[in-house]
Structures are given as C-alpha cells and as structure tokens.
C-alpha cells in the first residue's frame, strides 16, 4: 500500500470534523472519500494542506525517527501509537475536548463480531461495541481484527 493511501485511510474518518469547521467543501470531502475507498493516490500537497494538523505532529515524529514524513512506517507509527498519546495527554485542542469526542478520535484495535450490509459491529477496549462503516476494508470476516477511527473500520490487522 502506498503511504498516501495508508495516510488517507486513517485520516479520512476525521474529514467530517474538518468539513464541519468549514475548512473543506462537500466536494473535497467526496474526493477524499472516493480516494480512501478506492485506494487512489492523491497529491501529497493536497493531503498536507487539508490535514495540516496531523502533519504538524508527524513532522515532530520524523525528527525523532530521522525519517521522511511520507515514510510508510512514520505514518503507521503516528496513527497507531502517537496519535492516541497526544489525545490522552490532552495536547493541542484535546485539552478541552469532551471524552466522547476523544474516544471517537482515538484509533482502537477492534474485533469484528457481526457483519451487516454496509457496516460492521466491532468490539474494542474489551467490552465496548461500535458500529463502523466497512467501505475502507475489503474481505473481512467475523473474528478478524481491524483498526477503527470514528465510524470507520480503517485497516485489517
């Protein structure tokens, strides 16, 4: 998987927040959704502009790891580890964020317990259940583990 595709799959579920803030249009949101579902590689500059907050944080990580910000491992490390620590530590705007928002914003590992038409029911944090849209993951079955971000299953583990 290209780093642009990995990045967008993890970042896209957050795009509705960015749209709500008026930073992107419905049309740009649709471009992001189409690319995230169909594994399309979008321009790096376009992604960096829309998801500038993520890239500010990724830049810090690149210095620590001494790798490029578009390195696959850097993006993976950011979303599966660093992103949650930033939320838990209440950095940036997370200082004032309500718990329910922080919980949706975190990337969780989850087990698929039911498969519906367009969604999956997953279990995470031992007992919590959440419905997630399955459009970003292909060929999953009950018992598989996926990462989840907001209302989406992001990546099969």
């Amino acid at each position: 998987m290209e780093p642009e595709v990995l990045f967008l799959k993890y970042a896209f579920p957050c795009a509705f927040i960015i749209k709500q803030r008026g930073e992107i249009s419905d049309f740009e949101h649709q471009i992001l959704e189409d690319a995230a579902i169909n594994n399309k590689v979008l321009e790096r500059k376009f992604l960096e502009k829309i998801f500038f907050r993520a890239f500010e944080r990724i830049e810090k990580l690149t210095k620590e790891l001494n790798k490029d910000k578009w390195d696959y491992e850097v993006i993976k490390e950011y979303f599966t580890d660093r992103h949650n620590s930033i939320i838990d530590e209440g950095m940036y705007s997370y200082a004032k964020a309500p718990e329910s928002l922080k919980n949706l914003c975190k990337v969780h590992k989850a087990e698929i317990i039911q498969i519906k038409d367009d969604s999956l029911i997953v279990k995470y944090n031992k007992e919590k259940l959440r419905p997630v849209i399955k459009s970003l993951v292909k060929n999953v079955k009950i018992g598989d583990f996926v990462t989840i971000h907001y209302g989406y299953a992001v990546e099969k583990l």
Binding site: S93, K96, P98, L101, L104, G151
Partner: protein, 68 residues
C-alpha cells in the same frame, strides 16, 4: 453529507432515527446500541456511531467552532 456535531433524536421508527440539528433534521440508522428520544448522538455515513452525554454536547460545539 454528514454533520460532525451532536444531534438530538426526536423520533425513532424501527431502526431509523430522526435527528434534529437545530437548523435541519436528518435520518440515521441505528445499527447497535440503546437509543431513545432526546439522546444526543454523532452520525457518520448515515449511521449512529456514538451517544454523547448531554453535559458533553457544548464541548463538542465549542471545539468544532473554535478548535485548532
């Protein structure tokens, strides 16, 4: 397209909830969870993904208006 702010459930028929966002109303599907009238929820991709406790609603609104 989806709104990222909490909306209030004002009607439930089978597994479809009608959600009031103040300026507009939208339908969303209940896949799993116990929801009732007056609950605040977050919808994404036309499904209800999370319940928002009432005391946290203002925090969502503040963050999405002024957040960085």
């Amino acid at each position: 397209m989806c709104l990222a702010i909490p909306g209030k459930i004002i009607e439930i028929k089978n597994d479809i909830a009608l959600i009031d966002y103040g300026s507009e109303k939208r339908q969303a599907k209940i896949i799993i969870g116990d929801f009732k009238i007056n609950d605040y929820v977050i919808v994404q991709g036309k499904i209800i993904i999370e319940k928002v406790p009432e005391e946290q609603v203002q925090g969502w609104l503040n963050l999405l208006k002024n957040g960085t």
